[in-house]
């Protein structure tokens, strides 16, 4: 086989404007990181809320929250993305306004909302598991001191639960970066999409794919290091589970 390796391809000027192919890659990386972080923030807030609702006394609230989790867990991410992007703007009020945004914004918003909801269901399960793993007496003790139920969650249950679930949350955080590349299917120019574009324009598939793959691995490594640091900081002295 005869393949002409040419790593300098990244420095060549891309067809659009005065950017190089390297600039394309970096802008793709930027979109991937921005999208993942925005969706992660959404997933954490929604996930904490739904996770809490699954543990509050009262059957109907718990059932509603459980249904939420099941819906987002049992439909493929790609199908959810297409539904957010192609279907909901057609059938929801406000869809017409959405379709008047510039395409890049539409893609980004749909991708963020999709990843945010998808991941929030997983975060919610972790939050619920974390809260349920706490001794039952913790809730009773907080209530007995006169804290209201929201205060009990805010000051006692959630701070402990989140400390316990740092490791599983880390893998969800990693997943959101990996899942973000599904969004290339609706035309969002994130890292994977830029990599494919590069293949189309340069006919140097190996260089491009190797670069994209390495960038994902780098993201993975950075997130892992950051979360390990967080885990160390969140450790509660003398508590079981802190090694």
């Amino acid at each position: 086989m005869s393949y002409h390796w040419n790593w300098s391809v990244f420095l060549q000027p891309a067809p659009s404007g005065d950017a190089t192919y390297l600039d394309w890659m970096l802008s793709g990386l930027q979109v991937t990181v921005a999208l993942s972080l925005a969706a992660w923030a959404m997933a954490l807030i929604l996930g904490a809320l739904i996770g809490v609702l699954r543990t509050v006394p009262g059957k109907s609230i718990g059932r509603g929250a459980a249904a939420y989790v099941e819906v987002f867990r049992n439909i493929p991410l790609l199908a959810q993305l297409f539904i957010w992007y192609f279907v909901l703007p057609e059938i929801l009020p406000g869809g017409t306004e959405f379709k008047q945004l510039n395409p890049m914004a539409q893609q980004f918003v749909a991708a963020m909302v999709c990843l945010g909801f998808f991941t929030s269901a997983r975060v919610a399960e972790q939050v619920r598991a974390g809260i349920e793993s706490l001794p039952r007496g913790q809730r009773a003790a907080a209530l007995a001191l006169g804290l209201t139920t929201p205060q009990t969650y805010r000051y006692v249950l959630l701070p402990m639960a989140f400390r316990i679930i740092v490791p599983p949350l880390t893998s969800e955080f990693l997943n959101i970066f990996k899942n973000s590349c599904v969004c290339s299917t609706i035309g969002l120019l994130e890292l994977t999409a830029q990599g494919r574009q590069l293949v189309d324009y340069t006919a140097q598939p190996y260089e491009s794919f190797i670069a994209v793959t390495l960038l994902y691995m780098a993201i993975n490594a950075v997130v892992m290091l950051l979360m390990r640091e967080l885990e160390k900081r969140a450790r509660v002295p003398g508590h079981i589970g802190s090694r």
């Binding site: 007496g137 009773a140 001191l145 002295p237 508590h239």
Partner: protein, 242 residues
């Protein structure tokens, strides 16, 4: 100060509490004992509304616990409770444990709350542990902190749910000593415990429960001298033998 009138509680069809009635006057110390599963923990958890009950009425300092309109948080803030497994908040230092409810529930300023906490830590003999996390303390120390935490709220009465039964034997006395002192200072207390020595020393009355019923409710002296029911006699002979 606390009165229970015909309190009954069910889990589905299963009756956990059956027609429980008693009165606790200000400054009184009541010990509640009985075999495990007799409903004694459930009974005192009804007093501050941690456990709901279906029938009867509980009045604490003029406030009806079972009434839907009652602000339970406000009531609980005035009723101290100490748990079997301490239930200090593990992610907060001892000082934070003492401060949190004072600031968030009573709206005290932080400095004021800290000063109060320090004073009560001194009272339970742990003033030098304020900056430690609960996990670094022994069981006995944790339980004393838990008592101090409840006292920080200036409670009108204190509920103890088997405060020494999760402790290693050598730590039981340090906790009981704090409780005896508290009783001598005139605190109204309901104590679920098997520590009969403690009951003899400070309790005015002993309540004996079995199968969700209050079987005996008697002056301490006469309870120990001549328990009326066979089950109480049996229970006492078992417990005093250990």
């Amino acid at each position: 100060m606390i009165s229970l009138r015909n309190v009954s509680k069910y889990y589905g069809d299963f009756r956990v509490l059956a027609d429980c009635s008693t009165e606790v006057r200000k400054g009184e110390v009541i010990v509640v004992c009985g075999p495990s599963g007799s409903g004694k923990s459930t009974l005192i958890k009804c007093v501050n509304g941690l456990e709901p009950f279906q029938r009867g009425e509980i009045i604490v300092d003029g406030v009806s616990v079972g009434d839907r309109k009652t602000n339970l948080s406000r009531l609980r803030a005035r009723v101290g409770m100490v748990f079997q497994h301490f239930e200090l908040f593990p992610h907060m230092t001892v000082a934070e444990n003492l401060v949190i409810a004072q600031t968030k529930v009573l709206g005290r300023r932080r400095e004021e709350a800290l000063a109060k906490g320090t004073k009560l830590l001194e009272r339970v003999g742990l003033e030098d542990q304020a900056d430690k996390y609960p996990g670094a303390l022994s069981g006995g120390q944790q339980q004393r902190v838990a008592i101090a935490r409840a006292l920080c709220m200036d409670p009108i009465c204190m509920l103890f749910d088997e405060p020494t039964s999760a402790l290693d034997p050598e730590m039981i006395n340090e906790v009981l000593d704090v409780m005896v002192q508290l009783a001598k200072d005139g605190m109204t207390m309901i104590v679920v415990t098997h520590e009969m020595g403690f009951a003899r020393k400070v309790a005015q009355r002993v309540i004996f429960m079995d199968h969700g019923r209050i079987v005996e409710d008697d002056q301490t002296e006469s309870f120990f001298r001549s328990p009326r029911s066979a089950r109480a006699r049996q229970f006492l002979s078992k417990i005093l033998r250990d």
